[in-house]
Amino acid sequence: MKHLQPPPLARILLTALLLWPLVVFAHVEGGAAGGFLSGLHHPISGLDHVLAMVAVGLWGAQLGAPAIWLLPVAFPIMMAFGGLLGLSGIELPAVELGIALSAVILGALILGAIRLPLAAALLVVGFFAVFHGHAHGTEMTPGQSAILYSIGFVIATGLLHAAGIGIGLIHRWDAGRVALRGAGSVVMAGGLFFLWRALA
C-alpha cells in the first residue's frame, strides 16, 4: 500500500512554519497603530453604544431613502460635535442617561415602525449622537496619536451604522419587517437595562 506523502513544497512550508519564531505580544500597542486601534475599539467596547449605533442603521433602513443614508451622515458629524464639546471641557448633564435613552427611543421607533418627518428623524439622531461623542470621543489613552484615534473612532462608528443598514435591508420582505420590529424591541430592552443601571 502506497503511503500518501505531502508534496515537497508543502513539507518545506510545514517545516518553516514549525520553526517560525513566536512573536512576543508583551507590550501594549503604542504609537500610530495603538491610536488607530484604540479609536477603532472604543465605539464597540460598550454595548450601550453598539445598540444605539446599529439602531440608527436599522431605523434608517426602515424609513428608506433618503433617511437610510442621511441618518448615518448626520450621526458622525453630531457625534464629533459632542466629542468637541467634551474635549473643550464643556460638560453635558446626564451623559449616561442620554446614551441609555438613545437606545430606548430608537428601539421604540423601530418597534413601532414610526415614520417621523425627515427633519425630526435627523433631530432625534443628531441629539443623541452628541451624548455618544461626548462620552467616547474623549477617551484616548495618553501618548497616542489623536488623529489616528479620531480616524479609527469615526470608521468604527460608520461601520456599526453600515451593519445596522445591512441587517435592516430585511425590511423588503414581509417576514423581515416583523423581524426588524423585533430587533427594535431588543434594542429597546437593552436601552431600558442601561437606563435602569444609569439611574441606580
Binding site: 458622525p76 464629533a80 466629542g83 474635549l87 489623536a146 488623529i147 479620531s150 480616524i151 469615526v154 460608520g158
Partner: protein
C-alpha cells in the same frame, strides 16, 4: 563650576533642548521617495488631499483638473518658501477648520465651480506645504524631497478625483457623501484635541 553646581537639577532639565521629530522618514530609495512617503505617513495631510480630491471629483471634470494642478503646485511653492525662510509654520487650527469645511462640502453633495475649487485646493496646498516645510529642512536634497511630496499629492488628487468623477450608481454617490461626513467628523474631533492641547 561652583555656580553651575548651584543650579537646581530641575532647572537644568528644563533647559534641555526638545528633540524634533518632524524630519522625513528614510525610505531607502532617495530623497524623492522620502518626500513621497512623508505624505503617505502624515494622516492629517493625507486626509486633506483625499478631501480635496473627492470634492474636486464631485464638482465635475473641469474642477477636478484645476484642483489637480493647483493643489500640488501650491503645496510645493509653500514648502519651498518655508525652506527659504528656514522654518515651517504651525497652522494646525486653520488646516483643521479647512478639513471640516471640505468634509461638509462633500457630505452636502455640493458642486463647486472650477475657480472656487481651484482656490480651495490652492489654499489647502499653501497651508499644508508651509506646515510641512520644517520636515524638509534636515533633508540632504530638500528640493527633490519637496518634488516627491508634490508628486504624491498630484497622484493622490488625480486618483481620488477620478474615482469621484466616475461614480454613477446612486449608492456610490451616497458612499461618497458618507465619506465626506466622516472627514468632517474627524476634523471636528481634531479641533477638539487641539483645544484640549493634544494633537
Amino acid at each position: 563650576m561652583m555656580r553651575a553646581a548651584r543650579i537646581p537639577p530641575l532647572a537644568l532639565l528644563a533647559t534641555l533642548p526638545v528633540p524634533a521629530y518632524a524630519h522625513l522618514v528614510n525610505s531607502g530609495l532617495g530623497p524623492f521617495y522620502n518626500g513621497a512617503l512623508h505624505l503617505l505617513l502624515s494622516p492629517g495631510d493625507l486626509l486633506a488631499v483625499l478631501a480635496v480630491g473627492l470634492l474636486a471629483g464631485q464638482s465635475g471634470k473641469a474642477s477636478a483638473r484645476w484642483a489637480a494642478i493647483t493643489l500640488p503646485l501650491a503645496w510645493a511653492a509653500a514648502a519651498l518658501d518655508g525652506l527659504s525662510l528656514g522654518a515651517g509654520a504651525d497652522l494646525g487650527w486653520v488646516e483643521v477648520a479647512l478639513l471640516i469645511l471640505l468634509g461638509i462640502l462633500v457630505a452636502a453633495g455640493i458642486r463647486l465651480s472650477a475657480s472656487v475649487m481651484a482656490s480651495l485646493a490652492a489654499l489647502t496646498g499653501l497651508l499644508h506645504g508651509l506646515d510641512n516645510a520644517g520636515a524638509f529642512l534636515g533633508s540632504d536634497s530638500s528640493i527633490v524631497a519637496v518634488a516627491g511630496t508634490a508628486a504624491a499629492v498630484l497622484v493622490l488628487t488625480l486618483l481620488m478625483a477620478a474615482l469621484a468623477v466616475s461614480l454613477r450608481a446612486v449608492w456610490t454617490r451616497i458612499a461618497l457623501r458618507v465619506g465626506g461626513s466622516w472627514i468632517a467628523a474627524i476634523g471636528m474631533l481634531m479641533l477638539g484635541w487641539l483645544l484640549h492641547g493634544t494633537s
